[in-house]
Symmetry: C2
């Protein structure tokens, strides 16, 4: 079984959407990534940090899903990272109301010994300095390193971010971030520029408009499943990334053909994530539901046309 | 061979994009629809109106592509419909600079006798009263009636538009128009509402984000081909519609499975249309290019994932 190490935030979120609002609930990139990856046959572990206010039961819930949380440092006298946001009516944009870095401010990641030989490494969205520190603690180059990041780091830590980008195999960013990073409006041109920065594979996430996978002049597109209702988009991008790398780690096949399936798997899981607040849908998700929805993805996209 | 009757504007356009601008060039919904449909084995004809200023050579060019223009009335003392627009930098939005209805203002469509038994009817975007008049002149119910329309008619002639919508099999509109027509933000819900207005098939065009085909709770998605450069989006929606109905008319198969292929065919042709100003790319398009790009659509969307 492949090892999958995930670095990212484990956090409290308070979310407001047109459909309701939550108090502090479990959130964070590493949480969503690991929950998505736990749908696959992998041995995954998280590197992160929380405060003394973080319920042990939340960690236990992750452990119950075979997620190793020994790399989550607990700073008893500190407080867990907290983010609060409010989505606009179209759910495509949001305002950040509160960002309290708390224990994340001085986070020095420590990779547990049993994950220093991880086969797959997922660098979830956080400070590129933390991502680089994790890369440097891995003793053998993993089979695949996937990076997720966002515009905040392009604005504030571009040089450090570019050093991380140079070291990864796959980058996943959204369309606006791809444009910002590359200086190109066309996503095809943007992917070419980003390829030159290092990643052999560029995944551009377009939210409700799906995701594009670029590699060596080849391109694959996975739509988002058209849903009657999107309830809360929080964590959809992280869930996509977790499904993507979880699928690859479990199949131990990093060919382009298999990456297509991984992109579909990520889109599939993300389509569940948005149906409820926070992680609620992801922790109540059955294998039958996942397979049924994969069938819907096939029906949505597959056609048979004569090329002769 | 199926007969395909197309009603819509034949016009002069003057277009400005970030890449340049044109003087008055050939444009109009029926022009783009018929050029796209002429890629298929169909006997097509146009019902429209132009002024005495419209070059005979333009009509001859359509005739050379086996498009019957005897239903294009020429009002010698009148002027041809003229539209001028300027696209914004992202090419996703535009300002209309000039709209001169001219001969279109009092247009009374006359369906030529040889098309009163048309097998397929394409109602291109223009006044719903004109669309209804054409429907009423067809003696035998066509196998398939496809309607394209836009927000302008929803704003100004909603009652007449709803009467036309009630009589068609397929409606093609863009995402914002689907939301306006249905009052639903979710496109899945919007399609359900529009189904109840009459059309058994609802095609929602999302421009660079592809197109969705809804029917009886089934949904199919065709992406737009990711292009390095979009030069001029004018006519892309009409070209999509022309490719859609041209494919159906030539194959004489209006099953849902074949409509999937038709949506792909429409997207394929639209991907060429935007590569040059106006109709330039569409009149210089080879069958080999079309087939090659269909292969790209397959590579872009087809995947093979185990569902067991």
């Amino acid at each position: 079984m492949s090892k999958l190490l995930i670095v990212g935030t484990v956090a409290f979120d308070a979310i407001e959407t047109p459909f309701g609002k939550t108090d502090k609930i479990l959130g964070g990139a590493a949480t969503y990534i690991s929950l998505a990856a736990s749908q696959f046959d992998v041995q995954s572990g998280i590197v992160s940090v929380v405060g003394g206010d973080f319920p042990k039961s939340f960690l236990q819930n992750l452990n119950d899903r075979n997620i190793d949380t020994s790399g989550i440092e607990i700073i008893e006298e500190g407080k867990t990272f907290f983010w609060s946001g409010k989505y606009h009516n179209d759910l495509n944009s949001r305002d950040t109301l509160i960002t309290e870095l708390n224990v994340l401010a001085d986070f020095q990641p420590k990779v547990p010994d049993n994950f220093k030989d991880t086969d797959f490494l997922m660098l979830g969205n956080l400070h590129p300095g933390v991502q680089m520190s994790v890369i440097e603690q891995i003793s053998i180059r993993p089979k695949l390193v996937v990076l997720d990041t966002m515009n905040f780091w392009m604005d504030n830590s571009l040089d450090e971010l570019l050093e991380v980008i140079a070291k990864v195999d796959v980058i996943t960013i959204n369309d606006e971030e791809a444009r910002q990073l590359s200086g190109e409006y066309s996503l095809v041109k943007a992917a070419k520029v980003i390829h030159k920065m290092g990643p052999k594979y560029v995944v551009i996430k377009k939210g409700e408009h799906g995701a594009l996978l670029f590699h060596n002049g080849n391109v694959f597109f996975a739509p988002a499943l058209p849903l009657e209702e999107v309830f809360d988009p929080t964590g959809a991008g992280d869930t996509f990334a977790g499904g993507f790398i979880g699928f690859l780690a479990s199949t131990q096949d990093i060919s382009f053909e298999n990456m297509k399936r991984a992109v579909i798997s990520g889109s599939n899981l993300a389509s569940f994530c948005v149906e409820k607040f926070g992680t609620e849908r992801m922790v109540n998700l059955t294998n039958v539901e996942i397979k049924d929805r994969l069938k819907q993805f096939k029906e949505l996209t597959q056609f048979d046309i004569e090329l002769s």
